[in-house]
């Protein structure tokens, strides 16, 4: 026998189920409480950088949009600093970096009013392409799915990105790219299965 490492096991995940909105966006589900839902406003005042709108939906293997998903995003401010606990310093004071969208009850479409993130260094200091971390939970998803959204119009930065450039199946990289869809609007659809299945991250 050897000494124990005394490590605990992470609590195993269980699906968010069909009623995640009761707990995470109660006002959206008709329960007026807390004075509003967290994560609906990412801009609390005049923000630095380029303001953008992100839209998209999550599709199952049959091509049907999920109408009971909850999508959260986490991103840096326009200067590449994360609000809250970034060890490099303070971010834009009017930007929260975190958004939560329940999706439209009919179409399943999520929307975020945010800013285009600046570049954030990778572990070795190299700059990454601008990106937004996505976390998707829903009924039927046993462990919340992490992925990243990059910008299709950041061709140079994407080509030099330490993650994008090392993906073995380069034909799947477009599943991580948000496409410009009008001025200041980007569209990012997430596909859980199929030929265009989004690359999900174990990170």
């Amino acid at each position: 026998m050897v000494q124990s490492l005394n490590l605990l096991k992470e609590s195993p995940s269980q699906t968010a189920g069909p009623y995640v909105h009761i707990g995470c966006t109660p006002n959206f589900s008709g329960i007026d409480i807390y004075g509003g839902d967290l994560g609906t406003t990412m801009k609390t005042g005049p923000v630095q950088g380029t303001e953008i709108t992100l839209r998209g939906a999550v599709f199952d293997g049959t091509g049907t949009p999920l109408r009971d998903a909850m999508v959260e995003i986490w991103q840096a401010d326009a200067n590449g600093i994360y609000p809250g606990n970034d060890p490099r310093g303070a971010a834009d004071p009017h930007f929260t970096g975190w958004g939560r969208s329940p999706g439209d009850m009919e179409t399943g479409e999520f929307t975020f009013q945010t800013v285009k993130p600046g570049q954030v260094p990778w572990r070795n200091g190299q700059l990454q392409a601008p990106h937004i971390t996505f976390w998707i939970v829903a009924r039927g998803i046993n462990l919340g799915l992490q992925t990243r959204m990059y910008f299709a119009d950041e061709v140079e930065a994407n080509a030099a990105d330490p993650i994008l450039s090392r993906i073995e199946h380069q034909n799947r990289v477009p599943t991580l790219l948000a496409q410009p869809d009008g001025t200041g609007v980007y569209r990012f659809d997430i596909r859980l299965q199929g030929d265009a299945e989004t690359i999900f991250f174990d990170i």
Binding site: K9, G17, V20, I22, G30, Y82, V120, N124, L143, I203
Partner: protein, 241 residues
């Protein structure tokens, strides 16, 4: 430049994506291998929630939706515990959001179809932020079991849903708490998405008579463990991939 990364998730401990016994997972489970990378600043940082967002009744589901001088119907309980990481360190400042059915097993939701009655004094959601020792506590009523459309006769055991934020977005977790002694736990296809019975048991809260409030509420203890963060051994060593 980088902080210390998080331990990799144990994919044998978590439920796999495809679990046909839970039918909804079939069309919603990714089929390709996930892309593995060490965590970077993008996952090691996360939103920070201050105690100032909380109202005085946010952690009291018995009263936070009830009319004045009324309260929710059902067995009154306290649920308490700690949020820790895998190294055993407490996680202070963790936002814990909970939701649940009422004592009859009915959710307050448009898409809910169970014939059990709504309780006009029960909303079914609450939230709390852990203190400097990682401790949290809330009061609620014990939820009822409920049937759900999956197999011909599937029932959920009594449970409370938990959404937890740690200090890094990589720690983000949603899970469910079950109750000690409930025979329905081992019949449930959603519980059954977890392969290892020890992992299931880690989601079963223990009855704690020492924390009951006499003549008021029984207590259940439920600790939550988030991904651990690596310790720094060599501060000056250059870090590569």
């Amino acid at each position: 430049m980088t902080q210390n990364g998080y331990f990799a998730r144990d994919t044998q401990w978590h439920p796999p994506a495809l679990t046909p016994g839970y039918k909804t997972s079939v069309a919603r489970s990714p089929t390709r291998a996930k892309l593995s990378f060490p965590t970077s600043l993008s996952e090691e940082t996360g939103p920070v929630f201050g105690h100032n967002i909380l109202g005085p009744l946010d952690n009291d589901l018995i009263h936070n939706f009830a009319a004045a001088d009324q309260s929710a119907i059902g067995p009154r309980i306290v649920v308490y515990g700690r949020v820790l990481d895998e190294t055993g360190r407490p996680v202070p400042g963790a936002l814990v959001e909970v939701w649940q059915a009422n004592a009859g097993g009915r959710y307050r939701h448009k898409k809910e179809s169970y014939l059990a009655s709504l309780d006009p004094n029960f909303g079914g959601c609450g939230r709390v932020i852990t203190d400097e020792n990682g401790c949290y506590e809330f009061r609620t009523i014990q939820p009822g079991p409920y049937p759900w459309p999956n197999g011909p006769n599937d029932w959920r055991p009594a449970h409370i849903h938990f959404s937890v934020f740690g200090q890094g977005f990589a720690q983000r977790l949603i899970t469910q708490m079950y109750f000690e002694g409930d025979p329905m736990i081992w019949l449930c296809p959603i519980v059954g998405t977890i392969d290892d019975p020890r992992a299931v048991e880690s989601l079963v809260a223990a009855l704690d008579m020492t924390r009951t409030i006499p003549m008021d509420a029984r207590a259940y203890k439920f600790d939550i463990v988030l991904r651990g963060r690596r310790q720094t051994f060599f501060e000056n060593r250059a870090e590569g991939l």
